[in-house]
């Protein structure tokens, strides 16, 4: 794969806990994006982080980027049952395999 891997492949947590997902990529990038996919639906853009940024916040989302390690992480704080979905990182048009998050009420 051009993109690399995400881990974990699946994550199950209780409502209110934090969820962390990691993504690795292989090529140099201008930016990295995170998308969310609810079951049976298309992907929805969550957040973009540029190669010269190390951390970015949007609401309950926090994304970090380490270009030296070619890795990124997505943290969802105070998770809700509605956060249950698959989360994908993407560089240009290469997507990771995703992390399936299940938030139990």
């Amino acid at each position: 794969s051009q993109q690399g891997e995400e881990d974990p492949q699946a994550l199950s947590i209780q409502e209110g806990e934090n969820a962390t997902m990691n993504c690795s990529y292989k090529t140099s990038i201008n930016n990295l994006q995170w998308y969310r996919q609810n079951s049976g639906r298309g992907l929805v853009h969550l957040i973009l982080i540029r190669s010269n940024e190390r951390e970015k916040h949007s609401g309950r989302l926090r994304v970090t980027l380490d270009t030296s390690k070619k890795s990124s992480s997505l943290l969802i704080t105070a998770s809700r049952a509605a956060d249950t979905a698959s989360y994908f990182c993407a560089t240009k048009f290469y997507f990771g395999s995703g992390t399936k998050l299940n938030v139990k009420p």
Binding site: Y35, L43, F88, F95
Partner: protein, 112 residues
């Protein structure tokens, strides 16, 4: 705005049959993409277009053709469907000055 729409939503084909998937966007976006998503995997780019009348191959183009005769439409064709093409197909679009892709709801294709 409807955003990105895809037709059909679901289709069953027999091996060797042909079909065309239609993607339409009403955001005046320059770029359009066709991806396929297989179980447990991320999206893989099939073909893309950077503007009306242009197309280019992506990561997994074999067995597919595309056309972009109008800016708002991007068609994906399967000339002779194979069981390996059973997948969920997503279309996406992006403005020329943007970096975010907007996705359609997907077309689920089953080839028997």
């Amino acid at each position: 705005n409807a955003g990105v729409t895809q037709t059909p939503k679901f289709r069953v084909l027999k091996t060797g049959q042909s079909m065309t998937l239609l993607c339409a966007q009403d955001m005046n976006h320059e770029y359009m993409y066709w991806y396929r998503q297989d179980p447990g995997m991320g999206l893989r780019l099939i073909h893309y277009s950077v503007g009306e009348g242009t197309t280019a191959k992506g990561e997994v183009p074999d067995g597919y053709n595309v056309s972009r005769l109008k800016k708002q439409n991007f068609l994906l064709g399967l000339e002779s469907a194979a069981p390996s093409q059973t997948s969920v197909y997503f279309c996406a679009s992006k403005g020329g000055d943007q970096e975010t892709q907007y996705f359609g709801p997907g077309t689920r294709l089953l080839v028997l």
